[in-house]
């Protein structure tokens, strides 16, 4: 630690530049990572809602409805289908309007249509399912949140592709800048490295101080990025709570394990912190490895 600090003090501008580049990369990565996580979480949330609701005409017999249901289930594109009979629809109606006796008096089970609430395996199947239902007989109306799902799908895909390009650019840029900074430092110690090689030092021994310093800068930049990110998130937490009112929870699948991301929790924050620290450490290690490689061929 003492050697790391001495090295930073001896080349403060190179160290500061390396730190700022790392911070810039890690902070943007953090923002993109969390934004994407929330977008996927929102998609997952929407998948838990009835995505297509098909209302049958009043005269439709239950056998026909069940036939449509079974055909959809066997298509492999549907996760679950819930049948709402006339009576169940009426019960739901009563529940929703229990405070309004006038509305309850005007409606009976006879006039409410039977329906199917359909949950697709993937949002991408929704238009296909809706089209299939429209072609069936005795259909009164097919409702699905096409616009929202479509927009979210487009948005998620766009962000994912842009993020990939942006990530690659950030990683390459930060590795190049960091490598250059380390090369400046090493150039000042070229004769020392040559001497160490001649007296039998291993490559690891020579690399160690540079790798450790880069790791220190990488992890420090991760800590600062995470600190600022956490501050922003907690500062805007009341706004987020009001914006996401009604959304009880959001989660994403991580290796088939559902990770809760909303409401904000310590597990999610810990995973974000570990990921960003690892990312910072990897960038720093790669850059220092590349930089030192040039001077080890004695």
């Amino acid at each position: 630690m003492k050697e790391i600090w001495t090295s930073i003090r001896r080349t403060p501008y190179q160290s500061l530049s390396a730190f700022l580049i790392l911070f810039f990369t890690l902070f943007l990565t953090l923002i993109l990572f969390v934004s994407l996580t929330f977008l996927y979480g929102t998609l997952n949330y929407l998948e838990t809602k009835p995505q297509v609701t098909v209302y049958f005409q009043n005269k439709t017999v239950e056998n026909h409805i069940f036939k449509v249901r079974d055909e959809l289930m066997s298509s492999g594109k549907v996760l679950n289908i819930k049948y709402i009979s006339k009576n169940e629809a009426f019960n739901i109606y009563k529940q929703l309007n229990k405070d309004n006796p006038l509305l309850l008096e005007m409606v009976s089970a006879d006039i409410l249509p039977p329906s199917l609430e359909i949950y697709a395996k993937k949002p991408i199947f929704l238009p296909e399912i809706a089209e299939y239902l429209k072609k069936q007989g005795d259909i009164d109306e097919v409702q699905y949140e096409k616009d929202i799902i479509d927009k979210l799908l487009v948005l998620t895909n766009t962000i994912r592709k842009s993020a990939l390009i942006f990530f690659s650019y950030l990683i390459i840029m930060s590795i190049i800048v960091l490598t250059t900074m380390i090369l400046f430092k090493i150039a000042l110690k070229e004769s020392e490295i040559t001497l160490l090689k001649l007296i039998g030092a291993t490559n690891f021994y020579i690399r160690k101080p540079y790798v450790l310093e880069s790791l220190f800068l990488g992890i420090s930049a991760s800590l600062l990025s995470f600190g600022i990110f956490s501050f922003i998130v907690f500062y805007f937490n009341p706004f987020l709570q009001s914006y996401l009112r009604g959304v009880t929870s959001l989660s994403v699948d991580v290796f088939n394990y559902p990770l809760a991301i909303w409401p904000l929790n310590y597990v999610f924050f810990t995973i974000v912190f570990v990921s960003i620290s690892l990312f910072g450490a990897i960038i720093a290690s790669v850059a220092s490895y590349i930089a030192t490689n040039k001077y080890l061929k004695v």
């Binding site: 001495t6 001497l195 001649l198 007296i199 039998g200 291993t202």
Partner: protein, 239 residues
């Protein structure tokens, strides 16, 4: 002629063998031309010759800094001309090197400068402490272990370099113009330190200093234009 390492202890063995070694650089100039010689274990040898005669090339080949174009070099059983040589580190840990420009690390104090030679081989802290102090005593710098190089004279810096080269029982000590930057009196003081290791290590010194070579009366290999023109067992410096 090599002699096997025997139980007797006093039997002579060959430490370094150059066999028909030639070194041509890519631009065409020839540094060494078909040279052969052997240096025995614990022998004290001077390489003399004018600048460009090939002295430094020989030293650099011993440490495998450069590889010969043809011929073979064996250093303490290591074939350093083998292109697949994978024991460069092990070889270099047997060799202590002293340079004309000292190559002392400016940002480390004297103790640390000497200790680095043990640190690279993974010695533990207590061993480093003991050995460094013992070696600094040997080169006459025991009172300056916490001093930084900028505070030392050229002669003292060369003592530091010698201490760094001899510490850790390195079998071979190579010195490339060790007195090149020193005044005559300091040069003699430095050579007296080498004398302390006579018969204990293989010492190879490349130098221009006629007086020193003549007074030491040790083996002298005279180089001219990349060839050995004279090999005297107890020689002087004559060109």
């Amino acid at each position: 002629m090599a002699y096997g390492r025997g139980a007797g202890g006093n039997r002579k063995i060959t430490m370094i063998t150059f066999d028909k070694v030639t070194k041509k650089f890519p631009l065409g100039n020839t540094a060494l031309s078909d040279i052969s010689f052997e240096i025995d274990d614990n022998q004290f040898v001077f390489f003399v010759g004018q600048s460009g005669a090939g002295k430094t090339s020989i030293l650099k080949m011993i440490t495998q800094e450069i590889i010969p174009t043809s011929g073979s070099i064996i250093v303490d059983d290591f074939d350093v001309t083998d292109k697949n040589f994978s024991q460069k580190i092990a070889l270099r840990r047997k060799i202590g090197i002293i340079f004309q420009d000292f190559k002392v690390l400016a940002d480390k104090n004297i103790f640390e400068n000497v200790a680095v030679s043990l640190k690279v081989i993974g010695a533990d802290q207590s061993e480093i402490k003991t050995e460094v102090r013992k070696t600094l005593e040997l080169v006459g710098l025991s009172k300056k272990e916490m001093v930084f190089p900028v505070q030392l004279s050229a002669g003292e810096l060369q003592r530091v370099a010698i201490a760094r080269a001899v510490i850790g029982n390195r079998d071979i000590i190579i010195a490339d113009e060790p007195t090149g930057n020193l005044d005559p009196k300091t040069s003699w003081d430095i050579m007296k330190i080498f004398k302390k290791f006579e018969g204990k290590r293989t010492i190879i010194i490349a130098t221009h200093n006629t007086d020193i070579v003549n007074s030491f009366q040790k083996r002298v290999l005279v180089l001219k234009e990349g060839k050995i023109i004279k090999d005297q067992r107890k020689g002087g410096y004559e060109l």
